[in-house]
């Protein structure tokens, strides 16, 4: 596969409330092209909500989200063939289509948009499944796979379109430590081979430190700290320190 450059993401002043209850209270975050940004925070702090805003699945009440200078809504309104870059998302529950096989799930977007001839799609699907160590599972249905395998199929599906931005919503939730490590290694391998910008939402700080080039801490609907992963331990932010202590981590 060809190495691709990532896309820069700029989030400014994003606010969102549900039924009057504010969840995001003015999020400002800058993610450089090619970074692995891990957003950490406690449960219910709005990490997944923020990720869904970046994917354009939710509209903010206020504020803007720009990808390579292009407002997310303008990006979404463009026809697929005119989009200047591609964005993929790996959902917490994998979100595979249960009626389709693994291979059909991975090749779905390519087939729907008829971007490649069928033989080429089959090759791309095979390559993506190889990349996530799932060769031989092409004909299986999602219901026949374990949680970790479903996550890897979801990542293969995200990779199939050669995206410049990949968003992960809690990619290791409900996975055992070995599978968590495998997923983490996969994210860093994608970074090394493709250079795509990756945004990972996680509450697992050990994973964040392992895979992230940068880490942002979300609290009370705002980014309260943003550091290169290696510098996180030196942060003087009291919440970050509390978070690190709670996780028992030395980074």
């Amino acid at each position: 596969m060809t190495t691709q450059r990532g896309v820069g993401i700029e989030i400014s002043g994003v606010r969102k409330a549900y039924a009057g209850a504010p969840v995001l209270r003015g999020v400002d975050l800058r993610i450089e092209a090619g970074e692995i940004m891990v957003i950490v925070g406690g449960s219910g702090e709005g990490k997944s909500v923020l990720l869904r805003h970046i994917a354009g699945l939710e509209r903010p009440d206020a504020g803007t989200i720009r990808l390579n200078g292009l407002e997310i809504q303008e990006y979404l309104d463009l026809p697929p063939e005119e989009k200047p870059f591609r964005l993929s998302m790996v959902f917490q529950g994998s979100a595979l289509l249960n009626s389709l096989t693994v291979a059909e799930n991975v090749g779905l977007r390519l087939r729907e948009h008829r971007t490649h001839p069928e033989r080429e799609i089959r090759d791309i699907v095979a390559r993506c499944l190889e990349q996530v160590d799932l060769v031989g599972s092409e004909g299986k249905l999602p219901s026949e796979l374990s949680g970790g395998m479903r996550k890897r199929v979801a990542i293969a599906r995200a990779l199939a379109v050669e995206p410049q931005v990949i968003l992960y919503d809690e990619p290791t939730a409900d996975l055992d430590p070995i599978l968590t490590l495998q997923i983490g290694q996969l994210v860093t391998r994608i970074h090394a081979t493709r250079g795509a910008t990756q945004v990972v939402v996680a509450h697992n700080l050990a994973l964040a430190a392992e895979i992230g080039t940068h880490i942002a801490v979300l609290r009370d609907g705002r980014i309260v700290d943003q550091q290169p992963a290696k510098a996180l331990a030196r942060s003087d932010n009291p919440f970050t320190q509390e978070f690190l202590r709670a996780a028992g981590l030395r980074i």
């Binding site: 699945l57 697929p80 998302m89 959902f91 529950g93 979100a95 249960n98 977007r109 729907e112």
Partner: protein, 276 residues
Amino acid sequence: MATASDTFGRPLPPVPRRAGLLTRIGRPILEILQILGEGTVVFFGTLRRLGPAGRTWTRVMAQMVRIGTDTLPLAFLVSLFVGMVLVVQAADQLQQYTQEILGSIVGLAMTKELGPVIMAFLIAGRAGSAIAAEIGSMSVNEEINALRTMDIDPLRFLVVPRFIAMTLVLPMLILYADLIGIAGGAVAVSFDPAIRISVWQYLDNLTEWVNFKDVVVGLIKGFAFGIIVSVICCTFGLRTKGGSEGVATSTTAAVVWSFVLIIVFDYVIVRLALVF
């Protein structure tokens, strides 16, 4: 007095007051308007996407099999017994007059009313509930959002094939039900000792009274009911929230709404057919 707070020491939102009378009346009305609005958006959105695109026709064929072919045995059984019951009931009422009009009674009842309505109910209960549950579970499992992030339009991918399949299949099923119902009536005529006319008299009377327009009105109803059931069930599927309980609620609501709208539109179509 200390204020209640969460684990992080943040104050909890105040406990909402009990809803007043106006709220209790207004909320369901707003909910109904919301559903009708969403249904209208789904309907016109589907119409705009009806052009041939992608692999729509493969999916339409798959849905036609699920909605139509798989319903044939059940439709056969239901229509056969409806025709038989009609004959037996009417024959009993007509015992002191003439049973020679049994054919027209069964023919007109099946083609104009019972065939379309019973088949629409059957499809709403069997295929409509399956559609609402399937799309609903896709909504709560974020599969619909996954489609959106893949630049795949959920209306084109999920709703259009079901819409086309149901609007094509329901008139066909109605024609099938009409024939089986009439045949059921003939079976009852030939076997029931209380009926004193022959099968030929039954069929003669039927062909004399049932005309092409009656059959066409039934088929138009089928077309309209197909649109209603597919749009309502897809709308409820797409608006599903809240896990498996949400899927169950949506599925029930989709079937109930379909039944109510089938009866309402049945009246509207009958009234219009009498005008033209």
